[in-house]
Symmetry: D2
Subunit: 291 residues, 4 copies
């Protein structure tokens, strides 16, 4: 790594990986440094972005205009039109944008995709993803809908992309819940009917998980049968970066349908009564801890 | 932990320790929350401070005035008069301030102190402390003298306190170097003559350390004999906190001589020629990476 | 003025009034300076607060605990419980809090109050207050309900206090509108029935005002008769400060009913159908410019 | 004005000039808005920059890359290499950078330039510029050398450009003083020998100015004769902007010699003894108010 920028300077962790990286707390000085590297014939080739979601597209443009390809953490952007604007910026600059869709590299899920038989009948799928977060979450930028996109966008984008990849394009949807700590809904995809539930509230964890003090629960069932993919996450992130460097990264067009989907979920008016609810929709609600 | 405040909200690490802690990014909302806890009969008992050094005294006052005892990371404050003002604030509020002097709890060093014989002849001591930091250090608040106090204060305060504890009060001093990446000098203590050198520049590490890719070097020799204390650091921080809770913490008066010493080092005009130099003073200088 | 604190340092205007005032951009350094003044026997006597509304109570506490009386711009606080907590802080510290209720000092309105005859029949009052703001308002803290309290609180508090002062305590209310750019409702006071409308949107100005390029419209009618008070505002602010210094300032208890009123307006669910609407409720709505 | 960006949102002044301007407190959202305007066929044509000096070049690049010409307040940049980099950015983007050199438009000074006869003998020039600033200056970014460039750069750039314009290129220089509140030196120009003094400390004002409570003193003497140019400043700024819009703005190459000059002044080691001192160098020194 040549250079890093973070408005916050508590970055001692850099010592363990890139002690020689230049570091800046102001984007202006970072910009000046990148210009200097370019003029010295030593330009950056990739800019990797890990900032609050709503800043992604501006940071990506910053990289493209500085002559770099860009790797951006999920979700790439919050709205479809942001992604379309970035495609134009790619064309203007000749540089490329890549995103991280690590579940598409998970061995068990790759195997599942290869094994799935799509017939006339749709698969019945239930997706549950609970990853408990502490109280801090609710006062961080992640709790602000315009900044993070909310639970479904911030926590769920990987899973919505996975569903589209496995079961084909979206035909229709319902949203049943979308609060500060959880979201749930129903998706009619080309080859599946999906009931989904996502949450950051530890109270929504299954009882046996709570007893075992586990704070994450991931489950996909197809026709009532559990897909096992608890393991195998360790090196997916590394694999994702390797794929980009080898020219096999996922670009804007690939992730666009998932961005359209979470945008639609975010702006939908929840339907309180429905036959298509995920069973966890019945769990008791929790008040917002700081309101 | 009941509540935490950090202007920066990238605090996901809280999930691993205190998921139930309230969290705030503005001191004003934190203040309001502490007031509320107090009114509800559930006040905080201890406020633990880990902020940029130059803010310590204001943050300590904040805690004292909110009815809490305060535990503050090193250095407690930058200047002796800041410490004296805090003593008055203790008296005004009836609450206490504690600091962390973990080396005084290190088993090997406790043993050394017990073993040391102070006779008419002063011990000849050489102290070397190198802990390499990456380029980020030079653009962080730690590199700004008015904020961190500089190398000797920020990196060295523990060792200067140790020396005073082992060898008695300061009689006179010289400073030989004090730059962006290193400091060196000579101390005449009641029972020792100390040549010291501290650095955050990896180039100053001994060759065998560089080869072994070690980035920290701590050495104290007395009469040419190495004091071995590489291990035993792991739980000193926990022990320090336990001591405070058991009423055996180190207060302002205890740490004041070390604060006086680093203040004196900070404001001294380096003496370029001296017979009392630590041998590493001869190492080649490095330019500031961002100037 | 001895000292000032503003996180933003574009304060060249100080040169025209208080070139000798010390100035700080961090509350911690401001706190240290106030402590120093106190220790030097030259303490501040009054702290004047003009910060975003939701920070007022913490800033007031800061002043009280530093040994100063506090003068705080309107609205004193956002919620009644914040005001009650401050009363306890007054008791704890022995210092006082004052707020600015400048309309109570306006000569025409003082005269009106003296002239008003309260009989068994309630006065029919219509209050209209439009003060146009540019697009910047909607991206500033003033547009965030948790920070400013919204239109009725931020723009209206002076007028609600005026109504209570003129016509006695609140008996019941309705809210008819409360959006990003306007608020409207109905108040049943002891001696009046009030239809009110407030707005920051220039489109809601009366046509003759728009033509004359006037951007502010203030109107109070009692039984259809206009109370004239367009002039006489120039020195009310100065008078308010003078009153505080002469021991005739308005304290927390005085402003509490108005704070209770705006809190109630803020949390009310707007009633879309009502016979008690202010006529401007029928004006066409405008979308939020940045959503 | 279409849009504005300021990290600080206390911009109510916009209401008096551009109530319809969009406003942003984050550069990322500003960037997104400019992109959107461009895509809508309504791009900005000029970006006007008025930010802390050390950010100018990054902000200029931001404008150039967004397809706009840029007008930047003085000093354009702090160092000659920043200006040279910007010339390359102009070439890359096809957009232009303009700066404000308002003294070159001052009627009296234009007349002076036309009248001046350059013979073999150099003019003897004395330049004095004192503009008193309050204590706030010393805690603002303007007091930080790496951010403002210091007194000579931040206060003096207009006058150094004027001198170069009137008397031709720099041949040699001395710097006699350069502290937190004043700077002084000697310039050997092609057609003049200049003794200069600049200050923000009110104590350095001539006695009659102090008595008259004037806080600014500007004086240029040639061969002991005062050039009168106290008036005529009022509309120079407007004229400067008009000139840019009419294609007669001052570009990077024009201002480069003045930037080279202030850079040289900034990095010079003051010469304490010299025969070429401005008389005000003898005034008593003042300590830094916050150190």
């Amino acid at each position: 790594m040549l250079a890093a920028y973070d408005p916050n300077d508590s970055v001692g962790i850099l010592d363990s990986y890139f002690p020689e990286a230049s570091f800046f707390t102001e984007f202006e000085r970072f910009d000046r440094h990148l210009e200097k590297l370019k003029r010295q014939g030593n330009p950056i080739h990739y800019l990797s972005i890990c900032s609050p979601n709503y800043l992604h597209d501006a940071h990506i443009r910053f990289g493209l205009r500085n002559g770099a390809n860009v790797i951006c953490e999920k979700p790439l952007v919050l709205n479809p039109w942001n992604a379309e604007a970035l495609m134009e910026n790619e064309a203007e600059t000749g540089n490329k944008v890549f995103t991280i869709l690590q579940l598409r590299l998970h061995p068990e899920l790759v195997q599942l995709k290869n094994k799935l038989q799509h017939t006339g009948t749709k698969h019945q799928v239930e997706l549950t993803y609970i990853t408990a977060r502490g109280q801090w979450y609710y006062t961080s930028w992640k709790a602000e809908m315009p900044k993070s996109g909310g639970i479904a966008t911030n926590i769920g984008i990987h899973f919505f992309d996975l569903l589209l990849w496995l079961f084909g394009p979206l035909q229709s949807m319902e949203v049943h819940q979308h609060t500060h700590d959880r979201a749930a809904g129903y998706l009619e995809l080309q080859h599946a009917q999906v009931r989904w539930f996502m949450s950051i509230n530890a109270d929504t964890l299954p009882e046996n998980h709570k007893k075992a003090q586990k704070r994450t629960f991931r489950s996909i069932t197809i026709a009532g049968q559990e897909i096992e993919f608890s393991d195998g996450f360790a090196d997916l992130h590394t694999k994702s970066y390797e794929a980009v460097l080898q020219g096999a990264g996922f670009g804007i067009a690939t992730v666009l349908p998932a961005i359209e989907m979470v945008h639609q979920i975010r702006t939908a008016i929840p339907k309180l009564e429905s036959d298509q609810q995920h069973p966890f929709v019945q769990l008791p609600q929790s008040p917002h801890p700081f309101q």
